[in-house]
Symmetry: C2
Subunit: 133 residues, 2 copies
Amino acid sequence: MAAEKLVPIRNTNQRQLIFEYLEHTLTHPTAEQIFQNMRQELPRISFGTVYRNLDILEKQGLISTVIYSKEHVRYQVGSMNHSHFVCSNCDKVKNVVIDDLTDLNNQVSRRHKVMVQKYNLIFYGQCANCQKM
Amino acid sequence: MAAEKLVPIRNTNQRQLIFEYLEHTLTHPTAEQIFQNMRQELPRISFGTVYRNLDILEKQGLISTVIYSKEHVRYQVGSMNHSHFVCSNCDKVKNVVIDDLTDLNNQVSRRHKVMVQKYNLIFYGQCANCQKM
DNA sequence: AATTTAAATAGGAATTATTCTTAATTGTAT
DNA sequence: ATACAATTAAGAATAATTCCTATTTAAATT
């Protein structure tokens, strides 16, 4: 665990807008989708800026990354306190409410002598729409 | 859900050896690691062959894919009936035993009117070794 | 055992997502 | 207003994965 150099974080318009977009969207966009959306307001924004700011926002705990398939990483506001369902057919992502799993982290920490900081639970299957077809 | 053309699957030495390697390793190798290992026995094997056979083995239900970070997809024998712990510091992956979660799929299926086929639960944190440092 | 045929392979090119590099820009402290 | 370091845009570089094609090979048929 290398000690990180402490560097002041400046407020930039780009990061502010990325966060606001994530805050207001109901979907779980990919970096590509975020980039395309930002281009409407900031036509000169680059992918590097999107990725860098997503990393910063995640380190600040304001957003979190959901890794739900080989191809697509998705982003959302807040930390990972809920789970996701991903339709294997149409790729849609749904937030999912499940019974309390808060003591799972402790259970795993105790049994395996590790320090669990978070978990990520993803369900895969067919959504209501795709089942009909 | 497009109907898939039924195509005979032939037994090849390459696929057999990839499966045997996964069967006997205790780690959760990446495609790269599998490729390097296969090269010892099959010096002419290509990445395409590794990826194609991993896909086939997964479709046959003989192995499964664990997506545990943006950078690294990992493979293991069997289906995903257990969970994983990933150390955020050293990247090591551990199999984790947790209390019965078998009715989680049903719980989610019922509440969200979807058909859950599998779930993937990953814990992130610091392993015993990395905590000491 | 030889022949046939489509599936699988090797090899390498192409694609895609992400990270890196650098000169120019900009937020903020003075 | 000025200075300075953090951030940006732009595009090159990298890495993982997929795709393409001529050749090879498993296995069914003769």
